[in-house]
């Protein structure tokens, strides 16, 4: 449907002069707004980071503080993202391939983290694992630390990225239907090979898409992590927290140097995301999704 509209737009008659002027004005207004509102903040991050020159920038990145923060952020993402990928696949398999009572409720429960403020999300884990929380005294008796330690940061990150993969996969797999998998089962394929040879190749694009969104968010999460981290230098400070701490210490060059690394990751995310959207396979699958709804 969409490509038909595009085709039509191309061959439609040339608009009148006032219409063209209005069109040009709207396009210029939109570009101006996007530049002022979105591009300028991004540009200012890099401008501030390099304001003292390359050497100061490189020196700022090479401090132990930022290296530690980078390592922790990488570790947290490396645990949280795969767990959410597994959850996304499991939940979409259950929801898109079977009919059972309470399915709609389950779908809306998965969306809860989208409606919860990140700060509230972090606080919820304090209520469960904090010193006065449900498991607090048990954990401290066994000398286990969740809050103000890495496990809490991982949990909070899993929470905020919880629905990302599932939300991409569920509508996609529902639109696709289960004919191919049923055929594979009837022909005698074992459960694992049904998944590996039939399902996974079909869902790889939306799966990658959701994974990238989840990865970007888990690298950049601030509010939820800030509540559970305790800001212990060298131990529980992730990159976004390092940005905050350096900024509040008026160490602006270092703060913006750290911020520039995160901005760079964000720009990469946008490019990869756009590339997936433009890939023919993804577009075809989205079109199928639209026609089946």
């Amino acid at each position: 449907m969409r490509h038909l509209i595009r085709l039509r737009a191309k061959i439609e008659r040339k608009p009148s002069l006032p219409a063209r002027t209005a069109r040009l004005a709207l396009v210029i207004a939109a570009i101006a707004f996007v530049s002022l509102f979105l591009v300028l903040p991004l540009a200012s991050v890099f401008a501030q980071a390099f304001s003292q020159g390359w050497r100061v920038y490189l020196a700022a990145i090479h401090t132990g503080e930022i290296v530690d923060a980078l390592k922790l952020t990488g570790l947290v993402a490396a645990i949280a993202v795969p767990l959410n990928v597994v959850f996304g696949i499991a939940s979409s398999w259950a929801i898109a391939r079977f009919d059972f009572i309470g399915k709609k409720l389950l779908v809306s429960l998965i969306d809860i983290p989208l409606a919860v403020s990140p700060v509230v999300a972090g606080m919820m884990y304090v209520e469960v694992f904090g010193l006065h929380g449900w498991f607090g005294s048990w954990l401290s008796n066994h000398n286990l630390h969740v809050i103000f330690a890495v496990p809490g940061i991982v949990l909070a990150t899993i929470f905020v990225t919880f629905p990302f993969v599932a939300r991409e996969l569920i509508p996609f797999m529902q639109a696709q239907g289960s004919d191919e998998e049923q055929a594979a089962v009837v022909l005698g394929a074992r459960p694992f090979s049904v998944f590996w040879r039939v399902t996974l190749p079909n869902i790889k694009w939306p799966l990658l898409y959701g994974t990238i969104l989840a990865a970007a968010r888990s690298i950049g999460e601030f509010g939820a992590v800030s509540v559970v981290s305790g800001h212990i230098r060298g131990r529980t400070v992730t990159m976004p927290l390092a940005v905050e701490m350096l900024y509040n210490e008026f160490n602006f060059t270092a703060a913006f140097a750290a911020a520039s690394l995160l901005s760079f990751a964000a720009v990469i995310t946008l490019i990869v995301k756009k590339a997936i959207e433009l890939s023919t396979e993804y577009q075809r699958s989205k079109a199928e999704q639209g026609s089946n709804e």
């Binding site: 969409r2 509209i5 439609e12 709207l26 207004a29 939109a30 996007v34 509102f37 979105l38 300028l40 903040p41 991004l42 991050v45 597994v86 959850f87 499991a90 939940s91 929801i95 391939r97 079977f98 009919d99 059972f100 009572i101 389950l106 998965i110 809860i112 409606a115 919860v116 990140p118 700060v119 509230v120 606080m123 919820m124 304090v126 209520e127 904090g130 449900w134 899993i158 929470f159 919880f162 998998e181 049923q182 089962v185 459960p191 049904v194 998944f195 950049g220 601030f222 509010g223 800030s226 990159m239 976004p240 940005v243 900024y247 913006f256 911020a259 964000a266 946008l270 490019i271 756009k274």
Partner: protein
């Protein structure tokens, strides 16, 4: 024997299917959902009720908390209206016009999603500060953004923009130009085409997008705290007050505000979903 009973029990709520893995996938889903989402949510709600409803009401009715809630809601409301208006403009331009750099603009719309909120916060603050790229032109005219409520609104509308654009854009793309052409050939003016054809069709999506932007703005923390200045009673937002209370080990107070915020965002989302559903069924438009 137990496995047969399990099968019988499963059959009572699930339709038969030849595919494998129902028990495993649903079991894992429920386990993970309970552990990550439902258990902490229950703990928070129960904690806020721990001291009884009197203490809960007392915790959320102190002047400082009331002021923070007012600032948060007011700013989020203004921000979502702002996001809705220029979000609609951008969605319109992206959906209808082809121009050089369209794909770049389209990709950039998601920047507030991808950019960590702390980075957005310090970038906006630096930009609009007295000696910042934009602040140096605004401050002499008496327009103060940093450390005022205007700054909070600015940061909130920054994070809300993609929600509006991404809700409205696909709907505008789906509207058949033939409807507009028909209206035009029947003698409708541009304004009539917009208000009678385009607006009703895209309104449900605009409402959804604004609702999402509002919910995000009301709970936003990272991008707001740097530009807000965080003066109690004036530019302190609800999310920051929760953090402050937690740092003071006032868990009951913190969870009272959190539950109030949770309740509010659920109510707003529900109300707007109902409104959208109503509009959709009235207009017979799919979104």
């Amino acid at each position: 024997m137990p496995s047969r009973k399990l099968k019988q029990w499963t059959r009572s709520f699930k339709q038969a299917s030849p595919l494998p893995g129902f028990g495993l996938s649903l079991g894992y889903t429920l386990f993970f959902l309970t552990g990550i989402v439902l258990l902490p949510l229950a703990a928070t709600v129960l904690r806020s009720l721990h001291g009884g409803s009197a203490e809960f009401l007392h915790a959320i009715s102190t002047p400082r908390v009331a002021a923070a809630c007012r600032v948060t809601l007011e700013s989020a409301l203004i921000a979502s209206v702002l996001s809705a208006s220029y979000g609609f403009l951008i969605a319109w331009v992206l959906a209808r016009y082809d121009f050089p750099g369209r794909r770049i603009v389209d990709a950039l719309i998601d920047l507030p999603f991808a950019l960590p909120t702390a980075v957005a916060g310090i970038a906006l603050t630096t930009l609009y500060a007295q000696n910042g790229w934009l602040g140096r032109y605004l401050e002499p005219h008496g327009i103060h953004i940093v450390f005022t409520q205007a700054g909070i609104v600015l940061a909130m509308s920054f994070v809300g923009l993609p929600f509006v654009v991404r809700s409205v854009q696909p709907v505008l793309e789906e509207i058949d130009p033939a409807m507009e052409e028909a209206a035009e050939s029947l003698g409708a003016s541009n304004w009539q085409i917009f208000s009678r054809v385009l607006a009703p069709a895209s309104f449900p999506a605009l409402v959804t997008g604004s609702a999402l932007a509002f919910a995000r703005a009301a709970g936003e923390y990272g991008s707001v705290i740097f530009i807000a200045g965080n003066m109690p009673m004036k530019t302190e937002i609800g999310a920051l007050l929760i953090v402050t209370k937690l740092e003071e080990y006032d868990n009951v107070g913190a969870s009272a505000i959190a539950v109030a915020m949770l309740g509010l965002s659920f109510v707003v989302m529900l109300a707007l979903n109902l409104l959208q559903w109503k509009l959709q069924s009235r207009n017979g438009v799919r979104s």
